[in-house]
């Protein structure tokens, strides 16, 4: 309750700050927020787009949040995302089995390899004392250039483009992709206007994987001895060590799971949205946004879910003020920055919240 209120106030302040920026750039904030609101929720297809946008954010947010519970700051979500995406694109192109085998296989490979990639940072911390912030930043760049190298490798590179080959259709997790363009599908959908609209964007099954991941992570943290020990390590590594918990092992395991989650984000993105990967000049920011999601969601699984949707909606609707009002869409980045800023200095809101809650309890 308290945490939720805190996040809520921070978000609200961030939006107010964004309004101020808009005002300073000579744009009516009321108008802009109206455009954003309508741009996010006025049509079913918009909501579908938001779901698509939010899926990777929820997963990378979950990844950062999970590592954070073990006292690790996973800056490497970005790189793990890239490794997951690369693995999915590569094996989705190389393999071509029946979808019922192909999809689980490619997903599992992506999660597995990216978890090793994440675990590497945990292992280096445990074994050599390399701080995970430093190592994961490095690993992000290694992932980026390795991915670029792979995109250009013969057999995988799509000739005369900046991208890789597309994954085989059997790898796609886009929902009812073929049926939608078939005669019967078009027929059925035209009789159901809401679903017709809702299904127009290429919705994918990634959101289901994200929901399942949120639930599993919640279960681990809340109900299992494994989560118990992870949290003990996160809160007090010294006490955990004294209590006979293998702190180094737990750190590595935690980073492996975090890496797997980010990798899952990358894989669902490729298998459901992009269908291939491209040469990257810079990081796309899915992983870095995950840090924001985790912070806004107070590092909890369900918090990450909510915050992931929020950030997805914000980013999606933020584009629209550009075309409608000629407002710079960078305002959205400023808002997110402001929200994080408010979260980073909890003293602004914690005292007032405590006071309000106290009065509340007295009633």
């Amino acid at each position: 309750m308290k945490k939720f209120l805190f996040s809520f106030l921070c978000v609200l302040s961030g939006l107010l700050f964004g309004a101020l920026i808009l005002k300073l750039s000579g744009i009516s904030p009321v108008e802009a927020y109206k455009v954003m609101w309508n741009g996010a929720f006025s049509r079913p297809s918009y909501i579908a787009y938001i779901i698509i946008r939010s899926t990777p954010l929820i997963l990378t947010g979950l990844s950062v949040a999970f590592a954070f519970r073990t006292g690790l700051f996973n800056i490497g979500s970005e790189g793990q995302f890239i490794i997951g995406a690369l693995t999915a694109a590569y094996f989705g192109f190389i393999f071509n089995f029946n979808p019922w085998i192909q999809i689980p296989l490619v997903l599992a490979l992506s999660v597995f390899i990216s978890s090793l990639y994440g675990g590497l940072a945990g292992f280096m911390k445990a074994r050599f004392g390399v701080h995970e912030v430093i190592s994961t930043i490095m690993l992000n760049w290694i992932a980026l250039y390795f991915s670029n190298y792979m995109v250009l490798s013969e057999g995988f590179h799509k000739v005369n483009t900046e991208t890789s080959e597309f994954i085989n259709p059997s790898t796609s997790i886009t929902i009812l992709e073929n049926w939608k363009s078939s005669d019967s599908g078009m027929n059925w959908l035209s009789n159901h206007p809401f679903l017709n609209e809702f299904m127009r964007p290429s919705l994918n099954a990634g959101i289901f994987f994200a929901l399942i991941a949120v639930f599993i992570i919640w279960l681990i943290l809340k109900k299992t001895t494994f989560g118990f020990k992870l949290k003990a390590v996160g809160i007090s590594p010294e006490a955990a060590r004294y209590a006979g918990i293998n702190v180094n092992k737990k750190m590595t395991q935690s980073m492996m799971i975090a890496g797997g989650l980010s990798g899952l984000a990358g894989a669902t993105h490729v298998m459901g949205v992009s269908k291939n990967i491209a040469i990257l000049a810079a990081h796309e920011g899915y992983g870095f946004d995950g840090i924001a999601v985790s912070l806004i969601g107070s590092n909890s699984p369900f918090g990450s879910l909510t915050a992931g949707f929020f950030l997805g909606a914000l980013k999606y609707s933020g584009q629209k003020i550009q075309s409608a009002l000629e407002a710079p869409s960078e305002v959205i980045s400023i808002m997110i920055g402001a929200i994080i800023f408010f979260i980073a200095i909890p003293i602004i809101f914690e005292r007032p919240i405590n006071k309000v809650l106290k009065i509340w309890e007295k009633k």
Partner: protein, 508 residues
């Protein structure tokens, strides 16, 4: 005349009254002790005097008879108040001289630090008060006692007339304590007024003129130290009659159960900290390990607990080698441990009480099943422990952080005893606890001994070692310098001085 007078000072944090109507009058030129248990509100009061906290409305502060408000430490320093914190505020890579003048450096005409003038001034102070310092030594290379002197000179350099010393002897060796007493006498002779915050009774008897007692934030009484006995001071401090001696029956030592041979351990800097140390423990006895902080005790305990690799030697429990095993395996070999720092190592402070009870055993039946925690069992176990050890408040859902130090220590003790250990290593088991909790922990340790457990008590408080132990070993520079038998312990006159001599490096 009064150097400082406080009238009806209160300080409230939320709903908690840390100070409640405190009166304090400190005469010019006296040594005034503030006595109270941990959490009685001594530190809060001192922080008010030093301008770190503002008192609630209604209280009055008089400095040399003039009514003042002390809004900041800067104001306090300007008005001749100096404070030496329990944890020294020194820049370790700086020299003594640099530390003393830090923030109030004399300047030359073009703005650089005038070390010549500073040195002359500091040396003059050092001579006047007989401090005997070498101004160019780096602080990180000098002893704790010397660091304390630097802190005191710092206040004098800022023209302090009233010096507050917060738990000044907590970190000193017995020899350094004697030097400290001499320094205080000197300061007093030269007209300084001194306030000492402490909970050590003999210290008050030694150096204080008058003593103000605080209990649970309330002003109890100001007494003349000369006409008040230690027992009286203690009862006023805790609010009931206390017996300062631990009552225990003769030990009946049984078989040898724990055995450390030729143990050598390095510290973090890869220098030898424990050197060829030997220890044996029998069932039904308490072996006290006396020694000054920093003589290898921490490294020894970490090695015994499996948290630190050791170079050579062996550690055996019931003739089974446990050296180099993991902490978990060592725990399962029936070795229990009360760590030195309960907040950092004993408990996960942001875990609930019920979770802290099963920190080592969460994986064991009945607390979990196929990796899933069985909350019902956690609660059952925690409830029974809370009841048996009278841990308060009786709320297993609270975070350990929200309990008092004494109750936190009871959780650790309860948890360790619950595993039915053969050997208990108690490292500073009563550090920072109040008299009531100390008594309780001591009694529980003796009860364990009477049940036939072997106990290794490691403490920097010589009184505690002497009161509780059946045998004593003195650790100096990582080795046992002398073993003191039970006979010597009960028959030797001036046992405290006798052991203190060995602790300071003396030999037989």
């Amino acid at each position: 005349m009064f150097a400082l007078e406080l009238k009806n000072i209160s300080k409230t944090f939320g709903t908690f009254k840390a100070n409640d109507g405190i009166n304090l009058s400190v005469k010019s030129g006296e040594v005034h002790a503030i006595l109270g248990e941990n959490g009685a509100g001594k530190s809060t009061l001192m922080k008010i005097i030093f301008g770190l906290y503002q008192p609630d409305a209604g209280g009055e502060i008089y400095l040399k008879g003039k009514k003042v408000e002390i809004p900041t430490p800067r104001f306090a320093i300007k008005n001749g108040i100096g404070m030496v914190h329990q944890h020294f505020m020194l820049v370790r890579p700086f020299s003594i001289l640099q530390n003393i003048i830090l923030g109030v450096e004399p300047r030359t005409w073009f703005g650089s630090v005038n070390y010549k003038a500073a040195r002359a001034q500091v040396m003059a102070l050092s001579e006047t008060y007989n401090f005997n310092i070498d101004p160019d030594r780096l602080v990180e290379t000098i002893s704790v006692g010397m660091q304390q002197r630097v802190e005191i000179i710092k206040t004098l350099y800022r023209n302090a007339e009233l010096i507050i010393l917060d738990e000044p002897t907590a970190v000193l060796t017995p020899q350094e304590v004697l030097d400290f007493y001499r320094i205080v006498e000197n300061l007093k002779r030269l007209g300084k007024t001194i306030i000492i915050i402490t909970h050590k009774l003999h210290e008050i008897k030694e150096i204080a003129d008058r003593c103000t007692i605080i209990r649970k934030g309330l002003f109890i009484e100001t007494v003349d130290v000369g006409t008040t006995s230690e027992e009286e001071l203690a009862s006023k401090m805790v609010g009931r009659k206390v017996d300062l001696k631990v009552s225990k029956s003769e030990a009946v030592p049984g078989d040898m159960v724990f055995n450390v041979e030729d143990l050598s351990v390095d510290n973090d800097k890869h220098l030898p900290a424990v050197k060829n140390l030997n220890l044996t423990l029998h069932r039904g006895e308490i072996l006290g390990l006396a020694g000054i902080d920093g003589n290898g005790q921490s490294e020894l305990v970490e090695a015994l607990a499996g948290l630190r690799k050791f170079k050579s030697g062996s550690i055996k429990i019931n003739d089974k080698e446990i050296g180099h095993l993991t902490p978990r395996k060592i725990y399962e070999s029936k070795l229990a441990m009360i760590p030195e720092d309960r907040q950092r190592r004993g408990l996960v402070m942001d875990f609930k009480v019920k979770e802290n009870f099963v920190l080592q055993r969460i994986e064991k039946s009945p607390f979990s099943h196929y990796g899933f925690i069985i909350n019902r069992e956690l609660e059952k176990f925690a409830d029974s422990m809370m009841e048996r050890f009278d841990i308060r408040p009786r709320n297993i859902e609270l975070n350990a952080r929200n309990l008092s130090g004494g109750n936190q220590q009871k959780i650790i003790l309860a948890r360790e005893i619950a595993n039915n250990p053969d050997v208990l290593i108690a490292f500073q088991p009563t550090r920072g606890l109040d008299v009531g909790a100390i008594q309780y922990i001591h009694q529980e340790i003796i009860k364990l001994r009477d049940q036939g457990k072997a106990i290794l008590l490691i403490s920097y408080e010589l009184d505690e070692v002497i009161n509780l132990s059946d045998r004593v070993a003195v650790i100096v520079d990582g080795g046992i310098s002398v073993n003191i038998s039970h006979e010597t312990l009960v028959t030797q006159n001036n046992i405290k001085e006798y052991i203190g001599l060995f602790m300071a490096g003396g030999s037989v």
